[in-house]
Amino acid sequence: MKKTGAQIFVECLKMEGVDTIFCYPGGATLNITDVLSGSDIQQIVVRHEQGAVHASDGYARASGRVGVSLVTSGPGATNTVTGIATAYMDSIPLVIFTCQVNTMLIGNDAFQEADIVGITRPCTKHSYLVRDGKDLARMIKEAFYIARSGRPGPVLVDIPKDITSNLYEFKYPEKVNIRSYQPTYVGHIGQIKRAMKEIAASKKPVLYTGGGIISSGASAELVRLAEVLSIPVVNTLMGLGGFPGNHRLFLGMLGMHGTYAANMAITSSDLIIAVGARFDDRATGKVDEFAPHAKIIHVDIDPTSISKNIKVDIPIVGDSKNVLQKMIHLAEQGGPEFKDYHASIGDWIKETEQWKNDYPLTYVRNGTLKPQYVIERIYELTKGKAIITTEVGQNQMWTAQFFKFLKPRTLLSSGGLGTMGFGFPAAIGAQVAYPKSLVIDIAGDGSIQMNIQELGTAVQFRLPVKVVILNNAHLGMVRQWQELFYEKRYTWTCLECTPDFVKLADAYGAAGYVIEREDDVDTVLKEAFRNGMPTLIDVKVNPEESVYPMVPAGAPLREMLLV
C-alpha cells in the first residue's frame, strides 16, 4: 500500500517505539507536522531548535532511550548544530530529523536551504540525506539502530519536502543489515584474563570509570567488581552516578576539579582499570605525568578511544557490562594468584581513606551565601532522589563535587563539549521522560540566559522543572581563571544588566523566588520543590567564590590548588 513520505515517517517512528518528539515547525516540516498531529506521539514544541536537540538529549540521558527531534530546513537545521555536537561528544543516542528543500532545489541556494548533512558531518555518528523516498523507511530504521548501538551517538536524517508529500510503497524493514557496521560487544577473553592477572599482581589498583558505565547499564557490575576485589573507584564527570557517591570505595571525581583523594590515587596507583572512559584532558591533566607508576587496562566499546591519548598496556574492546561480568566471574573464582592480593589490598584502601579524611571537599563558611552550601542542601532535601542537570562552568563543577549521585542517569551534564545553555532544555527533556520525578537544573546566571526562552516550553507543557540559578553576577569559571592567571583582569566576565529572574518567571507564567541568605535556603527550596510549577530560583551567592581543588591546565594531577 502506498503512503506519503510523511505518513511513512510517522509509521516508522511508531514502529521504533518513539513516544515523544521535540520539535519546531517551518515550511519544510508542514507535511510531517500535519500527519504527526493526528498521531499519539507526544509533540513538545520548543522555542528554539537548539532547545529541541538538548531536550531530546536530556530525555535520552535520563531514560536510556533514543531522543528524537524534528526541525525545518535552513536556519532550523543549523540551529541544531550545538545540540548535535554536545550529544556527539558525550555519546548520547539521538536521531535528529531535519527537513530539506525540495529535491530539485538542492544545491541551488534555495530559500532556507542549508547543507546540513555537510555541516554536521564531523559531529554526527552518521547521517543520511534521503534522495529517494523508497529509501526513507530503511534510513530511519538504520538511523535508530546506529544511534543506540555500539558507542551511541547522534544520527541526522535530512528529508526533502517533496519526499514528505510523494507516495511510496511502504514496507517497514524488519531487520537492519549494515555490512560495514558491526560493533564489538563481547570482550576478548584472552585479554580479560591477562587483565585479571595484572589486577591480581597489583598492590594499588584504581577503577577509573566514565560515561560508558552508564550507557551500557553496567553500574551494578561496577559495584560488584569493586566490592569483590576492594578496588577504590574514581569517576569522570560523565561517570558520576555510575558508582554510588556515598560508597566507602568511592574517591570522587578525578581531574581538574577532582578530589584530592581521586587525583592522588591515580598518581600513586600501580594499575589503572579504565572502563568506559576516554582519558579526556580535563580528567588526565598533563598526559605525560598521568598515573606515572601504573600499567593501564582499558575497556571501551570504541577502539579509537584506546591508546588515543594514553598508551594502554591491555586494551579490551567491548561493552563495559559484558566485560565487567566476565571480570567478576573470574574474580569470584579467586584462584591462588589472588591470595597475596587480598592480603595487601587493605593497606591501599587505608591510604586512600587517609587522603579522603585529610583533604575532603570543603569550602569556607563565613556567613555569606556559598554556592556549595546550596548544592549540599539540595542533596539533603532531596536525599539524592532527583534528576540533576547542570549548565557549564562553576555550577557544573560544584554540582559534581557536592551532590552525591547515587544512581546512574541522575546527572545530566554536557561533559565533552561543555555547552552553556544545555541544562535547562535537558531538564525539560528529562521531565518529559519522568513526569513525576523532581528535575533540577543547577545553573549559573550566565548560562541560564543561553536558553532561557525554553521557559515558554516548560510552562506550555506543564513541566515543573526547577532551575536553581547560582547567581554570582559573573561568568564565574572564566572569572576564576582571570583571578588566578590574568591578575584579576575581569574582562567580559562581569555580567551587568542581568534580568530580574523573579519578574521574568512571572512574565512567562512560571514561579520565581529569590534567596539571599543561608537561612532562607531550606524554606525556599522546599516550597519551590513542591509547588508543581516550572520555577526559577535566583540564589544570590558570593561572587568571589572559586572552585577548588584545581589542577591548572597542563599541570599534572598531583599539583592541586586547595581551598
Binding site: G118, K125, S180, P315
Partner: protein, 176 residues
C-alpha cells in the same frame, strides 16, 4: 613513516567527503588519494597515502574503520604488495632535446602521448622510486607541467583484499 592504505567503502553518495573530512578534522596528513569503483560495483576502493608515527597511523586506521560506510581498511605496511603510480609530464622538446627525451622514455618504458612543435607529453608508470628517478633525469630539460595519480596498490600473490567483515588488518591494536 609513509603508509599506503586501502579503504574499501560503500559506493555511495557522500562517502568521499566523510573520509576527507576525517583527515582534515583530525589533522591527519594525506599525501594522495585515489578513488574508483572496485570489482564489486557496490564497493569503491580508496587508496590513500599518509604518514605519521605508529600511534598516529593506529588512530588513522581505527578512525577510518569507525566510519559507518567503511567496510574494510588495510595498511599495506603489513603486507607484501606492489604499487604503481602514473605521471603525465609535459616537457620542452626542441631540436636539441628531442633525442634525449626519446631515449629516456624508452629506458623508462614510458610513452609519448602527445606532441606539439615545442613540447612532448610523456606518460610514465612505476613505483615511487622509478618515477623519482625519471623526474630527476628529465627535470634539466624543462618540465612545463606535471600531473600524478598518486599510487594504487595490491597485495602480492594470491591474497585478495575483499569485503567480508569489518576489521582492520595490520596496525590498530585493540581487539587483543
Amino acid at each position: 613513516m609513509r603508509h599506503i592504505i586501502s579503504v574499501l567503502v560503500e559506493n555511495e553518495f557522500g562517502v568521499l567527503s566523510r573520509v576527507a573530512g576525517l583527515f582534515s578534522g583530525r589533522g591527519f596528513n594525506i599525501e594522495s588519494l585515489c578513488v574508483a569503483e572496485s570489482l564489486d560495483p557496490t564497493v569503491s576502493t580508496m587508496t590513500l597515502v599518509t604518514s605519521g608515527n605508529d600511534a598516529i597511523i593506529e588512530q588513522v586506521l581505527k578512525q577510518l574503520n569507525k566510519l559507518i560506510n567503511v567496510i574494510k581498511v588495510v595498511d599495506f605496511k603489513e603486507l607484501d604488495y606492489v604499487s604503481r603510480e602514473m605521471v603525465l609530464v609535459k616537457v620542452n622538446a626542441d631540436e636539441r632535446s628531442r633525442e634525449e627525451i626519446l631515449r629516456m622514455v624508452e629506458i623508462f618504458r614510458g610513452k609519448i602521448i602527445d606532441v606539439s612543435p615545442k613540447t612532448y607529453t610523456l606518460l610514465i608508470t612505476g613505483d615511487e622510486e622509478k618515477l623519482k628517478a625519471f623526474l630527476t633525469l628529465i627535470k634539466p630539460l624543462g618540465i612545463k607541467e606535471l600531473v600524478r595519480t598518486g599510487p594504487i596498490a595490491i597485495a602480492r600473490g594470491d591474497k585478495v583484499i575483499k569485503v567480508k567483515e569489518k576489521h582492520s588488518e595490520g596496525g590498530g591494536e585493540g581487539n587483543g
